[in-house]
Subunit: 422 residues, 2 copies
């Protein structure tokens, strides 16, 4: 089953907000065999919306639409849908009660604008929004379905999971089977990876294909299979996964879709190790991506963001003379920060970063984009010095990922070494 996505909103078109709804939908619908045909971002404009619906219905039987449902004036989606599907704007009593309930729970006053949220085209069936005031509207025409949802990601994500996806599956029925296998690959660049996998790709049977999804500093691979015969598909996918492991070996650090922080977390949990970070140029971002993972408190103890040099000395006990000798951006200081935070927070493992994220603050010896990092686990400690091109946020992002990969590599080396000895 193919579907189209229409994303409405001037704020998205002019780049003040980034659309994440279409990606969320795709990530949740493709495993169910629903294939995204196209995403279109259009203005809060009746003509643009109408043309996008026409084109989407010409290509697919399902159109998922988000945005343009807020209580303010620049939202004209409901009127356009009413003109498109027919009927008149009517007050939906269930929506009105929902809006009143939310307003009351949030201790707000009901006003004309929130009250208007209860007006919907008579041609739609309303799905009550359980986490917001904008109603979700289900329209049908000639066997085709359009679902209009709010633009607020949390509301759309929650209601897609609770109501819209189950109702879509009930309405349409797909006979083809679909399977995905995801792999995270580290320590090999994309073009070299493509050469190594050339023979594997050529030998894949019809219906199964491999995609490269380059990330910041590493690569995700996705094997997708679609077939009528579920058993055949399952066998082929299993074989494909085994072959990838045989070809890539330790380069595959996870055989599921996960962030680098999640993979590091899995290793720490498996081996019952604890972690702390000491961050200068990454400014707390390593701790942030680690703590975005639910359950990270099982292994993550805390962090010291030593942005000012005196915090490195006072809290992490980095030697003042060492900083003077090697410079604050040095592998020596990164090592001392890792050791210092592991000691201060009594952890098994530590990650440390110190660098120049830019755009200013560079010198000839340490130009903007230079980052020194250290990873420590027990007595084992590794450091590296990197130089990243690009913006401040890119330097932070790349250093964050590379620091996590440095620790992951240390953890995997130690375990490979241990297994070799056993």
């Amino acid at each position: 089953m193919k579907y189209s996505t229409i994303v409405i909103g001037d704020e998205l078109l002019i780049g003040q907000v980034t659309d994440t709804n279409s990606g969320w939908m795709a990530r949740h619908l493709t495993p169910l065999g629903w294939e995204p045909h196209e995403v279109r971002v259009v203005a809060d404009d009746a003509q643009a919306i109408t043309r996008a619906i026409d084109d989407a219905f010409a290509a697919t039987d399902v159109v998922l639409m988000t945005g343009g449902l807020g209580p303010t004036k620049d939202d004209i989606t409901k009127g356009t849908l009413c003109d498109y599907f027919g009927g008149t704007m009517v007050r939906d009593e269930a929506t009105a009660r929902n809006v009143e309930g939310i307003v009351a729970r949030r201790h707000l006053k009901l006003n004309d604008y929130t009250r208007d949220q209860a007006l919907v085209p008579s041609s739609c069936r309303v799905i009550q929004n359980q986490v917001g005031t904008a109603p979700i509207m289900w329209f049908e025409r000639d066997g085709k379905v359009l679902v209009s949802m709010p633009g607020v990601p949390f509301e759309t994500e929650t209601m897609m999971e609770r109501e819209v996806i189950p109702q879509l599956l009930k309405h349409f029925h797909s006979k083809e089977h679909i399977e995905f296998r995801n792999f995270v690959v580290m320590g090999i660049i994309e073009s070299l990876l493509a050469m190594q996998l050339d023979g594997f790709e050529r030998a894949l049977p019809a219906g199964i294909h491999l995609a490269y999804l380059p990330q910041v500093g590493y690569i995700k691979l996705r094997l997708t299979g679609i077939a009528d015969d579920a058993q055949w598909l399952s066998n082929q996918m299993e074989q494909g996964a085994e072959q990838l492991h045989a070809i890539l070996g330790r380069h595959i650090v996870a055989d599921h879709d996960a962030t680098m922080a999640a993979i590091v977390g899995e290793r720490l949990r498996e081996r019952q190790l604890t972690l702390a970070t000491a961050e200068s140029c990454t400014g707390g971002n390593v701790a942030h991506v680690i703590t975005e993972i639910a359950g990270s408190s099982d292994y993550f103890v805390g962090a010291v963001v030593s942005y000012a040099t005196r915090v490195k000395e006072d809290v992490l006990h980095v030697d003042h003379e060492m900083i003077a000798q090697y410079g604050v951006v040095s592998e020596q200081v990164a090592e001392a920060m890792a050791t210092g935070v592991a000691q201060a927070l009594s952890t098994d493992c530590a990650i440390a970063t110190t660098g120049v994220a830019g755009p200013s603050g560079g010198s000839e010896a340490t130009p903007v984009g230079t980052v020194c990092m250290a990873a420590k686990c027990g007595d084992a400690l590794v450091t590296q010095r990197k130089h990243y091109p690009g913006t401040r946020s890119r330097v932070i992002e790349r250093a964050t990922n590379d620091a996590l990969m440095l620790l992951l590599d240390l953890l995997d080396s130690a375990s490979a070494h241990r297994d070799g000895q056993a």
Copy 2:
């Protein structure tokens, strides 16, 4: 001048990567009077790309295209563009030298895949990519222009700024004038704001309009004006800005486009104050958003992420008895964390957060989504307890913004108080 954006890539369509290029382009082109017509995300598929170009050229004279130019097999953009604009695939010597130079600088080996990057349609003019291997291709037909750029944001952003935007401005010439004014509004919900601004909006002259851009916990307003007469436009925009200030008063915390972290940073810099954060449930994210701002080292000293309770006691010196009495998620502990980190890192101001980001770990007294926070500046200290619905990442994001707003409000209250006394 209107333009269309086409974003190519299966990985974007299926949601494994989020498109940020179209937003970046819009943010940089709209101030120059270039209006985005539509963004279309399409698959790595010749037919889909061809149809998108046809539709885009039917609506606008300029098409900006990103993606589908990597060295691996799933990229078919160049062949499709060659079929569309005519000619044959030829080797571009300048691109070949560029690719060889980059490969050598990165100490990689040249292989067949990177070598193929130098093949381009003979119908295009190549703009050398100074920061990557994929060439930028400029096509013209019937007075219309299509520019094909890589999907990697850093490459496209850098080359748009250095070459593509200047060349587009030279090629086309716009006579209309355009002006923007941005405002950040805090402490008032969208529907109430819309009511307060109802009269203002009605009175706006033709060509000038107001847009609401709700953020996480606050609202951005954007006044856009387009007119032939630059002087008239400038006067109208100035008047509009003055009226907004008169109506909204202290609710306007910035009269330019800025993140909450940037606004807090501006206040701290103005008043020469230093800041530290003590974070439990936000896990370093407050420090991260603060240090994303270039120059934040002028006021930001550091952070202690006290994820484990023992770090609150050992490093932040929060009293063990207090935690036992009030619970780790309490306004009392948030206050003690703020005081503790300001003392440990010797700063004027501090922000502290402690809460349950979820999805597990809640109790009846402190359900998932409960966050206590404190903001401190000198002797002034405020705390608040919030409860957020939604996912773990949303709780972290909202708590981060609310904690920053709590400090901003404290800073502005103190200064209003001081000004009142003066």
